[in-house]
């Protein structure tokens, strides 16, 4: 009897040791296996924000390319992306379907501030990584309270601060007029601008909001011009930014024109607005502009173009969102590669929070991805640039936008 007991204990001990060593080699959470890694995503494929769904399409195409080349550490990526129509209740429904139904390992690149806000708490309560969200709100970099959510792009407030710095240095006596989109993004850039101007915030002599549903921003621009401002800050999405540039030129207004980064595309903003009208416009960037003719021979842009031709031929190459989705997917693959065979949610988060000087081809030279357990803002650097009538000329140093407090 005693011997049998000992044998049993020994057997149990042995099996524990064996199981342990096996586990040390390969560890999986739901969504990962020897052959597959399931990744979830929500996108506005339908509805008013559907233009941004290009992020999801480009990411899906990138993962397809990775799978064609054998996947990540021998595992194929299954990218499951659902439509939320930019409606937060739908996002909650789809995110839960992804986590509880499809059992994805993590969510990546989900689009929009309000949709992501709706699942912020849920993802953290469930301890499922909510990585590289496609929105520039400041709240995504809060590892203390939301250790499972991480942002991606430079946040809107720090962009506003950079413009404020530029204005204070170059035009300390200027009068500023601001056009902004009346939503979280527009208000965030404006807040950054105001905070950056600090006690000189009185320099802003006029502000004109517009709604995404407005047909044009002409009347806003006319109103801003009549304020007598000599600096125009254009915080608008591509269509409206182009309208504003055109209207400024039509009015014969010649302000120092600062255009926010989301509307910096030559192909989808400056060319439609007129290249002559756009001459002298200032902006910031962290991506290479794939529509800039000067960069046509850049190896990374070439690689991206080849990728688009092969995997997303129907995609509009002038749409910045295709670059954004491509780089997010690229970064995701980096994180997964670093995870090795330890594909647990905790390790995904750990690897995502220890990116050091990662260079992605489409980022401007000198701009690198950096994260740490206390820094959940992967991209925080921007560079000022000026449009010379043909292409963008970067100038000044790489500026690290201080995180909005």
């Amino acid at each position: 009897m005693r011997n049998a007991g000992r044998a049993l204990i020994a057997a149990v001990a042995m099996s524990v040791i064996v199981a342990d060593s096996a586990a040390a080699q390969k560890k999986y959470d739901p969504g990962a296996s020897d052959s597959e890694i399931r990744i979830g995503n929500t996108m506005p494929y339908s509805g008013p924000a559907s233009a941004y769904a290009a992020v999801g399409k480009a990411a899906a195409a990138y993962f397809r390319m990775i799978n064609d080349h054998g996947g990540v550490n021998g595992r194929k990526i299954k990218f499951i992306s659902y439509d939320d129509a930019y409606s937060p209740p739908k996002t909650v429904e789809q995110a839960r379907k992804l986590v509880e139904g499809d059992e994805v390992l993590f969510l990546v690149a989900s689009l929009g501030t309000a949709p992501n806000s709706a699942i912020h708490k849920y993802m953290n309560a469930r301890k499922v990584p909510h990585l590289f969200v496609s929105t520039g709100a400041t709240k995504w970099g809060d590892p203390k309270n939301f250790p499972w959510t991480m942002g991606y792009q430079p946040n809107y407030q720090s962009e506003g601060r950079i413009y404020a710095k530029y204005i204070l240095a170059g035009h300390p006596a200027g009068k500023v007029a601001v056009l902004f989109q009346n939503d979280d993004y527009g208000k965030d850039v404006l807040k950054g601008l105001r905070d950056g101007l600090g006690d000189k915030a009185g320099m802003i002599v006029a502000e004109a909001p517009y709604e995404v549903s407005d047909p044009t921003v002409d009347s806003q621009v006319v109103r801003l011009r009549s304020s007598g401002a000599d600096i125009f800050v254009n915080i608008a999405t591509p269509k409206f930014a182009a309208q504003a540039i055109k209207k400024v030129a039509e009015l014969g207004w010649k302000p120092t024109h600062i255009l926010n980064n989301v509307a910096g595309s030559i192909g989808s903003v400056l060319r439609p607005a007129g290249l002559q009208n756009s001459k002298g416009i200032l902006s910031t960037a962290y991506f290479k502009d794939q529509t800039d003719p000067a960069l046509a021979n850049d190896p990374a842009v070439k690689e991206w173009t080849a990728f688009m031709d092969k995997y997303l031929p129907e995609g509009d190459k002038a749409n910045n969102s295709h670059v954004s989705g491509y780089t997010i997917a690229q970064l995701t693959v980096r994180v997964l590669t670093a995870c090795g065979d330890d594909l647990t949610r905790a390790n995904v988060m750990k690897q995502a929070a220890s990116l050091k000087d990662v260079e992605l081809g489409m980022l401007l030279p000198g701009i690198k991805v950096n994260t740490s357990p206390t820094d959940y803002f992967p991209l925080k650097e921007l560079q000022m640039r000026r449009f010379n009538g043909e292409g963008w000329e970067n100038f000044g140093p790489i500026i690290s936008g201080e995180i909005g407090s």
């Binding site: 494929y45 339908s46 659902y82 930019y86 429904e93 839960r96 379907k97 929009g112 309000a114 709706a118």
Partner: protein, 338 residues
């Protein structure tokens, strides 16, 4: 839309299908429905339970719209506004004042009733498409109003308000999804029971009379304008309670949740379920929630188009909505029985 819908197919209650009276059939179906509904929280995955909870919430909102459009003949493309007001009432009470979520429902009901009634007064001057347009304006305006700096302190502006999901009370062995399903179910049963009674009452007949022939109704001594405004109020009340339930279930409100798309979705649910049918609104709720998902599973890029095709097919095959189809089928079956 006006006039008794599908009445020519309507079988009398004493008609029989398979030797069982139609009224008895109704009872049997109701019992089966209850058994299925009671089984849901114990057999399905949590997120399915959550989806069904949402479908029931939409059904209540559609019921509100149906009281107005189906039974009283007033159009509304603005019920997303009442849904939003209900949702924000609940959210602000829970987040700003730490009031228990249960009490937000009667509050949302009162607030929305008052809003609906007051909106109904000027709307009295408008008929048909003009009223539809006025309510449409309401639907467009609400998200912007919620964002405005005047109320930002309360509504959280564009960022919205994040809420905490309630747990089951009294130590019930249910998780929060199961509990919310039960809670929503109880509220829904009460609301449907009240709506059914309202429609069968003297008041309900007055509403229908106003829809069918306002002049005749007023000749019979019905105060048309009062009833119309009251209907607007009650309709808003239903939709507002649904909004409050939605806020509690989603645990987040933001202006983007209550766009014009929502108003259209409610309208679609109404037509698909069957105008002037109370049980049809449940079908409508499930349609609004699940069919976009089905459309998406066909094609991501064309999800909207596929949804449109499904909608066209549904309208073509069941011009009276699901309820009309139900009436048709029971009518046929009853005839065959004879």
């Amino acid at each position: 839309m006006h006039g008794p819908v599908g009445e020519k197919h309507l079988a009398p209650p004493e008609a029989e299908i398979g030797g069982i009276k139609l009224a008895r059939w109704k009872l049997i179906l109701l019992c089966i429905g209850f058994v299925i509904a009671a089984a849901v929280p114990f057999v399905l995955k949590n997120f399915f339970i959550f989806q069904i909870t949402l479908a029931i919430i939409y059904a209540i909102a559609i019921l509100g719209l149906n009281l107005l459009t189906g039974f009283n003949g007033q159009f509304s493309l603005g019920h997303s506004a009442f849904y939003a007001i209900g949702a924000y009432t609940a959210a602000i009470m829970m987040d700003g004042f730490d009031i228990n979520y249960v009490w937000t429902l009667p509050a949302a009901a009162i607030v929305c009733f008052v809003f609906g009634f007051l909106f109904g007064l000027p709307a009295l001057r408008l008929e048909g498409v003009y009223l539809a347009l006025a309510t449409f304006a309401l639907a467009i305006a609400i998200p912007q109003v919620l964002k405005s700096t005047l109320v930002e302190h309360w509504t959280g502006g564009v960022q919205g308000i994040t809420l905490i999901k309630p747990d089951a009370p009294f130590g019930l062995p249910l998780n929060s999804d199961q509990w919310l399903y039960v809670f929503t179910g109880i509220v829904a049963i009460v609301m449907y029971w009240c709506a059914g009674n309202l429609i069968r009452s003297r008041t309900g007949r007055a509403l229908i009379a106003i829809r069918d022939h306002p002049v005749a109704a007023s000749a019979m001594g019905i105060n048309v304008s009062l009833y119309k405004s009251l209907t607007f109020g009650v309709s808003a009340l239903y939709t507002g309670v649904a909004g409050a339930l939605g806020a509690i279930a989603i645990a987040f409100v933001a202006p983007d949740s209550f766009t014009f798309q929502l108003a259209i979705a409610l309208f679609v649910g109404l037509v698909v379920g069957g105008v002037t049918s109370i049980p049809g609104t449940i079908i409508g709720g499930f349609f609004v929630l699940f069919v976009p998902n089905i459309a998406e599973s066909f094609s991501k890029g064309l999800a909207g188009a596929v949804y449109g095709v499904i909608l066209l097919l549904v309208i073509y095959l069941m011009p009276m909505g699901a309820a009309g189809l139900g009436r048709l089928v029971t009518g046929r079956l009853a005839k065959q029985g004879h």
